[in-house]
Symmetry: C2
């Protein structure tokens, strides 16, 4: 694919072009640069921009609205909106009550704590949160993690009071951690839980939970078959319950929506009635038992800020905090994108964090915005956070008056509710999509999945996150560097491996570096440049001696940053080239790279005229012309 020299030259004459200068970027002080960097790191969303140029009073109002989003939509709230919110609020309440009880059991906590947790946190969120669709309450994953991490050191059956104390304390630390992430504007930390990690993690957790629940279900079935204890009882509702459509997919099946949304409550009511009617609790069917009526008792006196379990509690708090935060933020963003409004990540973190801190002192455990219930909320037509208030009030009524009704609810139905909710977390199509697009992401997903199942919840997660970070580091350590060729009939230069029609230019080695140049990759880049030069010369030796290597062009367009090692690499490379009688040419360095090169180049040997070009095309054209001029001088 290599054209001969004369061909290329005539082509150059055809499209003659002006040479543009690479200019020095406008000067900025270190302070200005630091300010910009900090702003981009911590305030990329520029949260204060709406305050700019407003009168003082307006600023106060905006400030209050910023802290309490309820003040933004509250004044315009109408009866019409309330009708929608009432329906959706009642709908999610019908889900929240059975799920709350079930998830509390998943966390090895008394069932009533699940109801407490569906009362206070939604009220707090309604005031502070900025999502309109988030349905707040306990969620399966966080419940599982909380329960399994605490159980490693304390038995929930032998020492239930201590276990409860640790659960509330963990909730407090989860909230503190979440709120701190938001306040310190470190929200980007949750970005490190990639989609692949989460899909694998949730599927693994779902399988653990399902196996746990199936085990107790099988015990019931075994009892039932084995002893013929209940010959008159119809074969229960398991199949019906397992057969109900997954909640998560309810967004896609609006026709079956009301069925699926109502199923858990209907199951609970029916099974409770059956147990009550047949007095099945005396025949080996375990039931919830007596629940205390009344609202959340205070629990701030149960929080533990010292003692031998402090480490466990903080660790559990951080892990459940980050996982539940990820779910809450992701749900919020998903529905905000659907309805085209903005959710401020850092503000949401503060809201969810405060909600958990308040919750921990009112007998609630970790809560967040739940995937499944938020989808139901959205489909049931929720317009504002009032649907959370409606749900909370419904739960309150339940807590005050309806607790005796749950006395006969069989535990097995709760298990079925849990399983139904969690199997929806296993997302096979998404896993297939990941396999198709990116194999490494698939490995990360698999690690999270297998790690959660075979090692432990927190280690599986840590493994997947570690692997994701390792991938990023590997990309930096082994950056892409490609050889460019000319697309015939243009001044465009592109990757020779990708564009098969591209041709090499005799005498030129054109390389493009596609990563920041830093300490982690200078050795590699150096070796690679050397190897390419050797290969070029080896190839040339086979052919004629005529067109040997004269210029090495380094296209730095894609070098987004450079550090001291990177600068040293470029300086050393220039020295090596000089020794070999080759010319090194840099193309289109961005401002940061340009500045650092200049600062490192006191002697001025580095920035000679023929050293910097704005495009590869211009560099080749100009250098070819110089070369021709030189050789004709030599000849004449």
């Amino acid at each position: 694919m290599e054209p001969n020299m004369s061909n290329f030259q005539s082509h150059c004459v055809e499209i003659s072009m002006e040479v543009h200068k690479v200019v020095t970027p406008p000067p900025k002080s270190t302070f200005e640069k630091l300010k910009n960097r900090l702003k981009e790191t911590f305030f990329p969303d520029d949260p204060l921009r709406q305050f700019k140029g407003q009168p003082l009073k307006k600023k106060w109002i905006l400030g209050a609205q910023y802290v309490f989003p309820i003040l933004r939509w509250g004044p315009d709230y109408s009866l019409k909106l309330f009708k929608s919110d009432l329906v959706s609020g009642l709908t999610i309440a019908s889900l929240a009550i059975p799920q709350g009880i079930s998830y509390a059991k998943l966390a090895n906590l008394p069932p009533i704590v699940g109801l407490y947790s569906s009362f206070v946190p939604p009220l707090v969120y309604a005031v502070l949160g900025s999502s309109r669709d988030l349905a707040v309450g306990p969620v399966s994953i966080a419940s599982l993690i909380l329960g399994s991490m605490l159980r490693q050191e304390v038995s929930p059956t032998k020492d239930p009071i201590l276990f409860l104390q640790l659960a509330f304390s963990s909730t407090f630390f989860a909230g503190l951690f979440q709120a701190s992430l938001g306040m310190l504007r470190l929200g980007f930390i949750i970005d490190f839980l990639s989609k692949a990690t989460l899909i694998g993690f949730m599927a693994g957790a779902a399988i653990i939970v399902s196996l746990q629940q199936l085990k107790s279900l099988l015990v019931v079935m075994a009892n039932y078959i084995d002893g013929f204890l209940l010959p008159s009882l119809p074969p229960f509702d398991e199949t019906h319950i397992f057969g109900e459509p997954e909640l998560c997919k309810s967004t896609k099946k609006p026709k079956l929506f009301w069925v699926s949304a109502g199923a858990p409550l209907v199951s609970v009511i029916l099974s409770t009635l059956v147990v009550f009617a047949f007095k099945a609790q005396h025949h080996g069917i375990s039931v919830i038992g007596k629940l205390q009526e009344g609202l959340n008792p205070p629990s701030w006196n149960m929080l533990q800020f010292s003692g031998s379990y402090l480490g466990l509690v903080i660790k559990t708090g951080i892990v459940t905090g980050i996982i539940s935060l990820t779910e809450g933020i992701a749900v919020g963003r998903t529905f905000a994108a659907l309805k085209n409004y903005q959710v401020d990540g850092n503000k949401e973190m503060i809201a969810i964090g405060l909600m958990n801190m308040v919750g921990s002192s009112t007998s609630c455990y970790v809560t967040t915005g739940a995937f499944s219930r938020s989808a139901v909320n959205h489909n049931a037509g929720a317009k504002t956070a009032v649907s959370n208030i409606v749900m909370a009030v419904t739960v309150m009524v339940t807590l005050l008056f309806l607790m005796p009704l749950f006395q006969y609810t069989p535990n097995v139905v709760l298990g079925a509710i849990i399983v139904t909710a969690v199997v929806g977390l296993i997302d096979i199509p998404a896993a297939y999509q990941i396999w198709k697009i990116d194999k490494f992401d698939f490995i990360v997903m698999l690690c999270a999945f297998l790690g959660v199942i075979f090692i432990s919840v927190q280690d599986g997660l840590a493994l997947a996150v570690g692997l994701s970070i390792f991938k990023i580091l590997l990309q930096v350590t082994r950056p892409k560097m490609v050889t460019l060729g000319n697309i015939p009939g243009s001044h465009i230069y592109r990757n020779l491996d990708h564009y098969k029609e591209a041709v090499t230019i005799p005498g030129f080695l054109i390389l493009s570096v596609e990563a920041p140049i830093n300490f982690a990759n200078t050795t590699y880049l150096n070796e690679k440049v050397m190897r390419w030069m050797e290969e070029y010369e080896a190839e040339n030796e086979e052919k004629t001696k005529q067109a040997s290597l004269h210029f090495v062009i380094l296209d730095l367009s894609a070098v987004s940053a450079i550090d001291t090692s990177g600068v040293a690499f470029l300086k050393d490379l220039k020295k090596t080239m000089d020794k070999r009688d080759l010319e090194l040419v840099l193309v289109n360095p961005i401002s940061e790279v340009m500045e650092k090169l200049q600062r490192a180049d006191e002697a001025g040997e580095f920035f000679q005229p023929d050293f910097l070009y704005l495009t590869v095309g211009e560099a080749v054209a100009s250098l070819t012309a110089t070369m021709k001029a030189r050789s004709s001088q030599l000849l004449s």
Copy 2:
């Protein structure tokens, strides 16, 4: 700086251009891609390329030469080369003997271990190593680390035998770790010790060592002044010793070279004579004392592979291993670059690792190629690894016959030798250079420096490495994304902030992403694109309604990789744009990005004709033409 529309259009007509297609990259199987990726990760230097196409016998010879580089230069070895090597070997021996004794004391080991370590390892390296200038032996930094890490758990004075056992075992694990890095081709791990980290670390270590030694020096001085014990003794040689030129700088001062290279030995001889003559050892001057004659006793029976200290020994081995490896490889590369030959990093690691493993079973502690002695070796004219053999033989002779001579060598001289060697590690000009070029690197350096001094050797190092990695992650999480404008009179588009003459094109928002798009930054990128669009529209509202936003061009030239989250981000962005009646256009995706987009795009909605362009210039020209055609159709 915004030209009006008509101006730009006329300019477009002036430079009309052909539109080039973005082609699908040639298909490659997953296996092929995996193979390539693995090759670039582990075999970037393609170590087997010289074997290609050779006959079998030649392959065997090449293979043997690959494993034992001595076979490559051995057959051509001449008397002339030997003369050079003899001189340089004797010179470094004159350094190695006093330094060996001193560094062993720094590591809290018996002085003779330092001599043992200057005998066996150089011989092993001479056979296996590929550097011609490396002078092998104990070094100050590794000695310091070994001593201080082991001393945290075992006292060298109370339990000297155990301490020695642990030192040999640590050496074994250091060697094992080094050789494994080389065998597994994980040599890039040492790249994570950036130049900034090393400069800070070495300066911190130098200060610790100097303070330690100065303390004992001051004790001697205090004794001397306080008790008038040695009124007849001249005020010793401290000032002379401290005044001797730093060894590290000897490369720059060839005139004083022989003086500086010989100074340690001369100091030792002179001070020993003085002590002997005045019987100063009886007057409060501590001396080395009796040393056992004879060669290295075997020590493989002292290695500990189990027991309560195993963890300590492995940790110490890894830390000293990686630090000494970094020094050895860096020294090797530096002198290879000076003399224009190649040093294979992974092979060097195996050589250094085996050398330490052999050493650990022959009473040697951690050794590597020393900065200062290699410089002396180079300057004294060393040509091959034979200079190491000469040095080893000289040390052997010393061990066999000259040990009684060192009996009266005062410890204080050894301290002075250590201090002289380590103050050369404090590199103020390099620190200033780092401050000038990259402030963040300077912080990393400072952390290493202060961490080593105020926390501990290993924590200071871990802190600096952690910070360097954090910087990389931060760059990925908050990637550069800039708005581009047209450089007047060309089809070139560059950063508007850098090129002040660049102008925006009405109706277009042109963004360039300069980092891989992945899970860690999609949220940020999304927020940023949205904000820019809002700003664009806000600005336009102030002006006329005429030229509102039509096209968002995303220049992906610098996006070197993408993952599933990144693909999802682009898909979502396209959906959002469609909703807002804007057109999203991608420019110049590299082959990996292109492929993944295609695989994610089953419906084909994504790859419509007007969606992909090869350059920003062509995209703007073509889209402007389409827009004009459309509006003229509407008008007619």
